[in-house]
């Protein structure tokens, strides 16, 4: 039966006629039931096809954005050209051939040993804290009491970024790791570049290296360490405070302390790396009693080492970086950079201290003016002390204290400067006519060696910050084009037209991607020489991945552009763009988006983004409140009109779509789509005002939760601290929330009378049980953290900590897997209700309860699932914030629904603001140290591939996930079935999702532009670069969730299911 016949039959059905008896043609033998069935099947097929096309279409735009981010990052994130040269004995400059000064070296690295941990601090001082001050006294005491110059204690300044991997590279190679290396912290690989450990290994005298501690060493220096005796420990499990340290201590006891009398130690170099202090910092912050215990333990250990080493051993104790007031590190604040270097030998006069003892080694005011050396200086210093070659790439300068007399100092400096000069000449850093090169040569000839080193270091810092502007420009251009497409295709062109256009886009995109890949591969990969030397795209030469990414992006751009320009003129699109902003709420949304994106134009605004986003959300609340209270008659406010406009237009355009129209018409009679259209009724105004006020108050309340950025300084008081997170008050609040949250959600469901069917089961059952178990889990965790040495043995060999892991895994498994499978079963929130007919008492009237919100209520159950899975991975205060987020979300949905702004871009923008506000109030900031690494260890005590990563992902991007899922609710919430046909509904969801994508894209584009503009800014690595990374991640994650979860999975399924119920009659 072809479509035309079907349509005819449908028409007849509408008129109440049986097609079987109509007309002379007796071919129509199908019963009405069958016809409806066929109709449904056809509709379903049509919808499925369109759905797939839409998913592909949005996905291709997401791919375009991914490629643009990849290109931008390629150009912006710096990489350093590593020279593989190795300094060898054959080096003609070598002067070091006599026997070394020492027999053995013991190097102990105490991770995160901040400088003011080891010096005496005035107890009357304002900032004195007994938890971390004056606990480690052995280093300073030894230094002070050694009048024979057998030790030296210095402040050790690390170079940012202060992540352990970067520091180890810096400490051993003596050079400056660039930002791109920071990303590989989880994926250590052997350092091939010349380094101190390699030199130790190559040197016949020192080559037996024993190592114990942080397994990052094992990853970086595996070939050089003595594999038989080395004992690496897992380093990234920050909740484990003692394993590594106890391992190091027992190892040292075994090989050093207990054996000092017997002379049977085979090793020449012993390296230990302790992580306890760092892990305490990550887990509890410095201000915690555990820190004191840890520091006292280390103090005792250091004493033992100092007492046990023999006369010919050199002991080096150092920290790789410090920690900030929250106990984290990675940035470049003073607290993070200041670490400790301590060298000790029993031999007298091993070192020469500064003449001016009091000023150089001044410990007053937390050692503010204490003599400091750079971390890279360690490499030449140790090399010279141990008679090694200075590693080839080293940029450091030997510290003055190691020379015993001025001749030796001069010799040391000569050796170092030779190495630096060789490095400079070999590396071709500068062209010979460069001004800086001339300056360096001049300094070298004038024998101003130290100035030469300082100058060279500056040059390197400068050069390793060289950007690839072509890649940057490509990235920005692609992202801009994707933004234009998103605006045109999801906002400007009516969705009904897009339904048709998509069928043209998708095949063309696929074809063009293939064709362009072939062309570009031919040009750049197969025949790379065909592109000339000055071709702007010559960097693609021979790069498989970049060539394919570039051609794919061009394919997507052209694939959309050709059909688009075929149907619309640019002039019309521009006019439509300005017309688009004729609407009041669209203008408001535009202002919010533009203001938010302009924040990145200034470092102060970027720093205070958390407060400003809250300010915007409050402003949105105030605008809606104003609207509800005063109801200004603003014609353009009435989005209803534009809705009707589209509906009318649809009739004109889609004559072919008669089937849908007829059915829609029929249903419109059944159910008035807008029973209380604007102007708002008094009740809805009161309700709306209540929602607005609730939104404002909740926004203000959650904005009190903050983990301050270091740059915010005294103006911000951190509330997201360990003390607050696990305080009894917060635990009490969490307990109350077990009862409050389900009831409040229930209230919102009741508003649309959809607390039926599966809803009580889900909200009262699942959600409440989940919150209770979640509370138990976090209550135990809080006891573990606040009460020292708290542990309960439940069963034999199973203490409560083990039980806690079981609990957390149950919670995560339930919310991530079980609940979603439950949702797949299609929990409907409707029920058949019987009521008395007002006219006739004897006749009962049947009605479907929850009919009006059938889409929204069911979709919200999925949001609850996601919400549950995110709650487990957040600390108690952040949980409170996410509870508030659920309510804020519901108020925004209600407000948008009351104003009939479902298709306006203000909805997605308000949700976007909510998402960013919640990102900040769940204890995050747009900085790398604020990542809550400890949340990775909720499901497993050590790093396990999916578990740790899921935890970190859900913790960091929780609000983004919730918002990108619930953006579909803008359309679904209070959307009765059978008013819009499935295609239109899907198109509207894509339009809302597009709104959210536009918001994130504008932010990302703005961060691209401003980070490029401020590339030489003092704060670029501290403020702008992390913000750009965060913007890119937000955009990609939002797009990913929107495409695969919201549109592909949830919406498609939901629409099909409801369709089946209400169309198959």
């Amino acid at each position: 039966m072809d479509e035309k016949q079907l349509r005819q039959q449908e028409m007849l059905l509408q008129n109440g006629l049986n097609p079987n008896f109509d007309g002379n043609d007796s071919n129509f033998t199908d019963s009405p039931r069958n016809i409806a069935d066929n109709l449904y099947k056809q509709r379903n097929r049509k919808f499925k096809k369109l759905h797939i096309l839409y998913v592909f279409f949005i996905f291709s735009i997401a791919i375009l954005q991914f490629i643009s981010i990849a290109f931008f990052s390629r150009g912006f994130l710096l990489t350093r050209n590593v020279l593989d040269n190795i300094s060898t004995d054959n080096n003609p400059n070598s002067i070091l051939n006599d026997k070394p000064q020492f027999d053995k070296t013991v190097i102990l690295i105490v991770d995160a040993l901040r400088f003011n941990f080891v010096i005496p601090v005035d107890v009357d001082s304002m900032d004195y804290n007994p938890n971390y001050h004056n606990n480690i006294d052995v280093l300073y005491d030894t230094f002070k009491n050694s009048q024979d110059s057998s030790s030296v204690l210095l402040k050790f300044i690390a170079d940012p970024p202060t992540t352990t991997m970067q520091r180890l590279k810096g400490l051993t190679t003596g050079t400056l790791p660039t930002f791109i290396d920071a990303g590989s912290n989880f994926d250590g690989s052997v350092i091939l570049e010349d380094n101190l450990i390699k030199q130790l290994y190559l040197n016949k005298f020192w080559n037996d290296i024993y190592f114990v501690g942080d397994d990052t060493w094992d990853a970086l220096f595996k070939p050089y360490l003595n594999q038989q005796f080395s004992r690496p420990f897992d380093s990234l499990n920050v909740w484990d405070l003692d394993t590594v340290d106890n391992g190091v201590i027992s190892y040292f006891h075994e090989y050093l302390i207990d054996q000092s009398s017997k002379d049977q130690m085979t090793y020449k170099t012993l390296i230990g790396h302790m992580l306890g202090v760092d892990h305490v910092g990550h887990k509890y912050g410095p201000n915690h009693f555990t820190m004191k215990e840890k520091q006292l333990q280390i103090n005792q250990f250091l004493k033992e080492i100092i007492n046990s080493i023999d006369d010919n051993t050199l002991l080096v104790v150092m920290g790789d970086h410090g920690m900030d007031h929250t106990g984290n590190h990675g940035g470049d604040s003073v607290d993070e950079l200041e670490s400790t270097l301590f060298m000790y030998a029993k031999k007298k006069n091993s070192f020469t201290l500064d003449k001016d003892y009091e000023t150089s080694y001044n410990i007053s005011n937390f050692g503010e003016s204490y003599k400091q050396v750079n971390q890279i200086d360690l490499v030449p210093t140790l090399s010279l002390l141990l008679d090694l070659q200075i590693p080839f790439n080293s940029l450091g300068w030997p510290i003055d204290e190691i020379a015993q007399n001025s001749q030796q100092l001069e010799m040391f400096q000569n050796i170092t400067v030779q190495q630096l000069h060789t490095f400079k000449e070999t590396s071709n850093l500068l062209t010979s006519d460069d001004e800086r090169n001339l300056l360096l040569d001049e300094l070298f000839e004038k024998n101003l060696y130290h100035d030469y080193q300082i100058q060279l270091l500056e040059v390197c810092k400068d050069l390793w910050a060289r950007f690839d502007y072509i890649s940057i420009a490509i990235g920005i251009t692609f992202l801009f084009i994707s933004l234009v497409y998103l605006i045109i295709l999801t906002q400007l062109i009516p969705s009904i037209v897009i339904n048709k256009l998509v069928t043209e886009f998708v095949p063309l995109i696929i074809c063009l991607i293939f064709i362009l890949n072939l062309i570009f591969f031919g040009t750049f990969y197969v025949f790379p020489t065909s592109a000339s030397q000055h071709h702007p795209l010559r960097f693609l030469n021979g790069h498989f991945i970049w060539t394919s990414l570039f051609s794919t992006a061009i394919g997507i751009i052209l694939g959309i552009m050709i059909p688009l320009l075929d149907h619309y003129s640019i002039k019309w699109l521009i006019c439509r763009f300005f017309e688009f902003f004729g609407d009041y709420w669209t203008r408001v949304a535009g202002i919010f988006v533009i203001l938010h994106s302009l924040l990145f134009a200034s470092n102060s605004f970027t720093i205070w983004e958390d407060k400003i986003v809250g300010f915007f959300l409050t402003s949105f609340g105030c605008l809606t409140l104003y609207e509800f209270v005063f109801v200004p008659k603003r014609q353009s406010t009435v989005a209803l009109l534009s809705g009707l406009y589209v509906e009318n237009k649809k009739k004109v355009i889609t004559n072919t779509d008669e089937l849908d129209d007829v059915a829609a018409e029929l249903n419109k009679k059944m159910e008035d789509p807008y029973p209380d259209s604007l102007p708002l009724s008094k009740e809805s105004r009161i309700l709306g005002s209540y929602h607005s006020i609730l939104l404002i108050i909740l926004t203000r309340l959650v904005s009190t939760i903050t983990i301050c950025r270091e740059e915010q300084g005294d103006f911000c008081k951190p509330t997201f601290t360990i003390d607050n997170n696990y305080s009894p008050y917060i635990m009490g609040l969490l307990f109350i929330m077990i009862f409050l949250i389900p009831s409040l959600v229930k209230g919102y469901f009741r508003l649309s009378s959809s607390y039926q069917g599966a809803a009580p089961f889900w909200i009262n059952g699942f959600l409440r049980c989940f919150l209770l178990m979640n509370f138990i889990y976090w209550f135990i965790t809080s006891l573990e953290i606040t009460v020292p040495s708290w542990s309960v043995n439940l069963f034999k060999g199973m203490d409560i900590k083990t039980m806690n892991f079981t609990l957390s895994r149950t919670l995560a498994g339930f919310s991530l897997v079980a609940a979603n499978i439950g949702w797949l079963m299609g929990p409907l929130c409707i029920e058949l209700g019987l009521s008395n007919n007002s006219e006739n008492v004897n006749v009962k009237q049947a009605s479907v309860l929850g009919y009006k919100n059938i889409y929204g209520s069911q979709f919200f159950l999925l949001v609850i699932n996601v919400f549950m899975s995110i709650v487990v991975f957040n600390k108690p205060l952040a949980q409170l914030s996410i509870f508030a987020m659920l309510l804020q979300l519901l108020t925004i949905l209600e407000i948008i629904d009351l104003f009939r702004l479902k298709q306006n871009i203000i909805g997605p923008v308000a949700l976007g603001l909510l998402c960013y506000q919640q990102y900040f109030t769940t204890g995050h900031q747009a900085t790398i140290p604020s990542i809550q690494w400890d949340m990775g260890f909720i499901l497993s005590p050590s790093i396990t591939f999916p578990l740790t990563h899921i935890g970190l992902f859900l913790n960091t991007f929780g609000p983004h996930i919730i918002v990108s899922l619930s953006v579909a609710l803008l359309t679904f919430w209070r959307q009765p079935p059978s008013i819009l046909n499935p295609q239109t509904l899907l198109a509207r969801i894509v339009s809302s999702c597009g709104g959210l994508a536009i918001y994130n894209t504008v932010l990302c584009l703005s961060s691209f532009i401003f980070v490029t503009h401020f590339r030489r800014h003092l704060m670029v690595w501290k403020i702008f670069c992390p913000r750009y990374l965060f913007a890119s991640a937000s955009l990609l994650i939002t797009q990913f969730i929107v495409v695969f979860v919201t549109i592909a999975f949830a919406s498609g399924r939901l629409i099909r299911q409801i369709n089946e119920l209400f169309w198959r009659q």
Binding site: V588, N603, K611, R634
Partner: protein, 222 residues
């Protein structure tokens, strides 16, 4: 209630107030309709300009590093009352009242009662400041002084609307422009210029005063 009044008084366009961020919107969209469909006669007199507010603002900002909200408040209240009596009130009359209010009739009891009502008006203003992110406990004295200052900027309008010389909807415009002044001026707070005038209540005070001066002046021209 406000809505009802607006409707009774005629053209609904009249009550169109955009709580928008740009100043241009105020004059182009809010106040222009006023000119076309006058339900409240405002005498366009240059004397309507609140010179006292300009002077107060000048005093406030040029005092050396000492932004004294308290002093300003003490000066503001009497000056606003005087302004209301001698200038502002006389230039407003309600066209709906067929009985013309004679030029110098001043409801003396009302004008004495109004400052007391301003104290109550200050409460929601203070709450609004806090909801928009103002400090809750620290600096609460400044918040109180700020909200009293802002509420007293509305004194002439409140008096007139109590005296039924204008409708509340007109008064709303003044409130909105003061709000907008504060909203916009808060831009300078996060900037790291370390200037004394960036400290918490100062930008809001200046923004509020500027907003009210603009709204009083603009009524003259539109």
């Amino acid at each position: 209630m406000a809505k009802k009044k607006g409707n009774k008084n005629g053209n609904p366009q009249n009550v169109k107030v955009l709580p928008d961020t740009s100043k241009r919107n105020i004059n182009s969209q809010n106040l222009k309709p006023n000119k076309e469909t006058n339900n409240t006669n405002i005498k366009k007199s240059i004397l309507n300009t609140p010179f006292h507010l300009i002077i107060l603002l000048f005093l406030y900002t040029t005092q050396r590093h000492k932004f004294d909200e308290e002093l300003l408040l003490y000066l503001l209240i009497p000056l606003q009352i005087i302004y209301t009596i001698f200038q502002f009130s006389s230039n407003f009359s309600n066209s709906n009242n067929s009985k013309k209010i004679s030029k110098r009739t001043i409801n003396l009891t009302l004008i004495l009662v109004v400052p007391i009502t301003m104290v109550f008006a200050a409460i929601p203003i203070g709450l609004l400041v806090i909801l928009f992110g103002g400090p809750i406990l620290e600096n609460y004295k400044k918040t109180i002084l700020l909200s009293l200052n802002l509420s007293n900027l509305l004194l002439p309008i409140i008096y007139l609307s109590f005296n039924k010389q204008i409708s509340i909807d007109i008064g709303k415009q003044y409130a909105v422009s003061i709000f907008l002044g504060c909203w916009l001026s808060s831009i300078v707070i996060p900037l790291d210029w370390d200037r004394p005038w960036q400290m918490y209540p100062v930008p809001l005070m200046v923004g509020g005063y500027l907003g009210s001066i603009l709204s009083y002046v603009l009524t003259d021209f539109f």
